[in-house]
Symmetry: C2
Subunit: 570 residues, 2 copies
């Protein structure tokens, strides 16, 4: 089965297929997304306007249920940052797209009316079906109805009310392997672009599809085994299998980098109460399914996801992740996992980024709209988003707009995207990533917290971030989860061999970095064309002057090092 | 009396004076403002943060009541555009600053607390006085109280609730010669910067002050006479003396460039009802003081200002200007001067830019928040601003934020500043000015409507705008009103001779253009340092594709011409 580009036009409701241009063939995931954006949309176009496009590009390794390597990249010009955007997610969407031979799905055009639609993709091709009955539904209810309509085996990407309203923090939810619609391509507002195209959902039925061909099956099996064994042997894999990503709470708190009360402190006095250890104990005590964690994608051996039940054993939310705990918990002064879980569920159902909204609520608290620690008020503010009130819309557009409208100066954003749960003053390498990533503040663009370095010292952080950014851009191009890096780093040559085996390309010993550098270069090019300069490659001014308790750190990596990093990346 | 820099620190409440650095000596008004911004603030700083500054710089000709040449420049980094900002106003402030020998007033620092202050300037120096009793007052009530406290002869610059709330459309009001507090430095949010400095008002008592020295009185008198005679002889002077700026309604409507219902059309079916002719008839019929127009500054011979009374002869507002009529009238589908006048008065009292709010309300109407033509609803929305509700704050931050929050694509802004009452598709030279001025969309930065050109053709518009921008930047540096150009253009050498006579400098035959080019260059430099690129030198995307009824024009001046203009200006 040939890999093709599928092009869906929301104006005339045609879906066509076309061969891959040569310059797109050796790209996938995040890299292909950036290439298509550069080739097909004016960088200065309105992200929600007729010239913008929404892209679904599975990574290069997607299709064979290699552990943690079936991720989906969603690409667009970001309504949040106005720059390049790739947001990736687990779940089953990418796998099923690839099994239909879809290398890239391009959604384009200006909708002809106000009606809502489902885009249905299968071996028979693509078609638009009316979906007005789904409009206004939350993600959970809409997904349930879609599964009833299209059968339990389809993949679904869908938006909630946040996407329908065009809010800049809206994401796109995907079904996980247990059909929970909570694997969100969350960052940067891709859900708003989907809403602007009047698409409530994309349904992928891969019946009759098949795994993509492998040129050298023996080489593939060998490389896959090396990778998987290395991944399984890594101590962090065990940690995540036990605690999920919430394992990070105590670690980051220990470094003094856990966002607390709108980034006014780096340690939270109640960190233990919201830690991975407490979460695990609660899940076990409340009698989940016996295993405190599970996989989000078929075949993943890390199983960092979880289902968090309430005291009666009923699911509150799945998954509950570190970033959400940091932004919605300590960042709001909320010390109660049940409350954090309830807030998380509401945000998931709205289809909105919990990092961005956690940060926006922190800014709102600073503006006097809620008291830190008041989880009921936080839920009431989130209900404002659901109701689409002016206040709700402000919050739903994220931390930068919230700060602007209410005149708050301490706003934790870069390129208008919220900083996630690693305060950059205490984890400076990640601070460099926030500042210089074309994506805006994004820990997954190059997290450095596990490096053996003094995270408080400015020296060496730019180099560390540069390496991490290149690698992560490579993994995102492969469709590999951030945690797959534990395995690939310990299995030299595995990336090279997997690509050789599957495609017949030999990218050399630095295969991962070749892909990563290419992807970053394309993204920097897009942002430059969109009007970004080095003035945008900065942390917020106040983080360079306001010391972070208890370490007293400020962000002091020299601006010249930030500029040199970006210059090199281009 | 030496010309000095006065520096007021809002943190420790000191006011100091210092000699002029050499590089500031030959500048004034808008040019000096840009120079100080470049020299003293980081271009990337937060406009409302501790590193930002607020500047009051009288123009070079201010001080001798030369007709229309006593204007004040207010400078800052704009909270609206995030770029360079100079907003100028008539009234009496500049004259009195100069008579105290103040070449530039620099307000700086981070306020130490939440209290409000008045900055009082006199021959005895500067001092801060508590003003908490004025906080929350509208501009009219606050000005009245200030005049009662400080006597009827002072000049006052003050903010209303909009500035106190830090809204991006907040301006700074100044007393006119009749002590009406309505000469607003309106554009770009200077009032928000003043509010961020916790200054409710600046009071200037020039008792004991004196006009600035003139080196060659005979030359000065001759040049002044040539200028004044030319100004008086200009037919447009008579038109403005008769009708005020509202004379423009029918002219611009005739060109198909009168903003109508959020810039969806260029002619308004009820243009006559909101025209200068109707306004004049109403003022005369309702028995004003017999003269339908008057001067805003002592000594002005144009007298384009007016007092608009209601049916009982009681003042509704003063002045009622063309820009307000265009943005609050036809742009909102409101065909009634009384309603426009009432809205204008509310906006004046809030201390907020009527152009920006008119545009924001047009966007709000498109979002379904009001029906076009519903003036009562417009007043209710303005009351939301007064009450500081989330909706009011959104509107008070201007058209760009309103469009962003409510997901409206047809937003008439450049560099986030609202386009004023000349649709750039029908008046293309002014469109070039909107696109390329460092100020953002601003008709006073280079209006081309009186040029003998086919305004619908793209050819020649960039050159026309370039000339207009250079000249206007020159006039703004002199402190001359846009209408003084009628006189200066017809009195060759007058600018050169006035500067020679007053300061002893000879800037040559192109004295005006020398100043203008220098000012523009400084402003472009600031914006570049702040992170602006050519991507910001564009009209909104939709104005290049959406034809404007009834002419069917789109904005089609080639982007290369816009870029060449900016490149040359730098």
């Amino acid at each position: 089965m040939d890999e093709l580009v599928w092009r869906a036009n929301v104006h005339d409701h045609t879906v066509t297929t076309e061969a891959l241009p040569e310059s797109w063939q050796r790209l996938g995931g995040r890299g292909l997304s950036a290439r298509i954006l550069l080739d097909e949309i004016p960088a200065t176009c309105h992200p929600l306007g007729p010239r913008s496009k929404l892209l679904f590009t599975p990574g290069l390794l997607v299709g064979h249920m290699l552990s943690s390597c079936d991720r989906l990249s969603v690409g667009c010009k970001s309504p949040l940052t106005d720059g390049v955007k790739e947001s990736n997610a687990g779940g089953t969407t990418a796998l099923k797209l690839v099994r239909l031979g879809i290398k890239a799905l391009i959604i384009e055009g200006a909708p002809a009316g106000e009606r809502w639609w489902v885009l249905h993709l299968s071996k028979a091709g693509g078609r638009f079906e009316p979906a007005d009955d789904l409009a206004g539904l939350g993600v959970y209810a809409a997904a349930e109805r879609l599964l009833a309509r299209y059968g339990p085996k389809v993949a679904v990407s869908l938006i909630g009310l946040a996407g329908e309203m065009g809010l800049s923090a809206a994401g796109i939810q995907n079904l996980d392997k247990d059909r929970s619609p909570t694997r969100i391509a969350g960052r940067g507002g891709a859900g708003a672009v989907m809403g602007a195209k009047r698409l409530k959902a994309i349904v992928v039925d891969d019946t009759g599809g098949e795994p993509p061909p492998i040129i050298d099956p023996q080489l593939y099996r060998d490389a896959a085994r090396r990778f998987t064994q290395a991944l399984m042997a890594h101590p962090q894999t065990k940690t995540y299998a036990d605690y999920g990503t919430a394992a990070m709470v105590q670690m980051c708190n220990g470094f003094g980098g856990l966002p607390t009360r709108n980034f006014s402190a780096g340690q939270f006095e109640d960190a233990v109460a919201i830690s991975g250890e407490t979460l695990r104990d609660l899940i076990i005590a409340r009698g989940g399914d016996g295993d405190p964690t599970h996989a989000c994608m078929p075949g993943c051996t890390i199983r960092c996801s979880n289902v968090f039940p309430d005291a009666s054993g009923r699911q509150i939310v799945s998954p509950l992740e570190y970033e959400t705990i940091g932004l919605v918990g300590s960042n709001l002064g909320i010390n109660n996992l049940d409350a954090i879980g309830r807030i998380n569920r509401e945000l998931d159902d709205l289809g909105i980024d919990s990092i961005e909204i956690g940060a926006a609520l922190g800014v709102a608290a600073e503006a006097g709209l809620m008291a830190f620690g008041d989880d009921e008020r936080a839920l009431a503010l989130i209900d404002e988003i659901r109701r689409g009130t002016p206040l709700g819309r402000i919050l739903g557009h994220g931390a930068a707009i919230t700060g602007k409208v209410f005149g708050v100066l301490r706003v934790p954003v870069v390129k208008k995207q919220a900083i996630s749960a690693y305060d950059p003053r205490a984890i400076k390498g990640t601070g460099v990533t926030y500042a210089t990533s074309p994506q805006g503040a994004d820990h997954t663009a190059g997290l450095t917290i596990r490096a053996r370095i003094d995270h408080l010292k400015p020296e060496g952080q730019a180099a560390l971030s540069r390496t991490a950014q290149v690698n992560m851009a490579g993994y995102d191009t492969l469709g590999a989860c951030i945690f797959a890096s534990f395995g690939f780093a310990a299995a030299p040559g595995a990336v090279r061999d997997l690509l050789r085996a599957r495609y017949g390309w030999d990218l050399g010993e630095e295969a991962l970095q070749v892909l990563g550098r290419q992807t970053l270069s394309l993204e920097h090019q897009f942002n430059r064309a969109a009007g970004f300069t080095r003035a945008a490659d900065r942390l917020p001014e106040w983080m360079t002057t306001e010391p972070l308790p208890p370490t007293g750190a400020v962000f002091d990596v020299p601006e010249a090092e930030l500029d040199a990093l970006c210059e090199e990346a281009r």
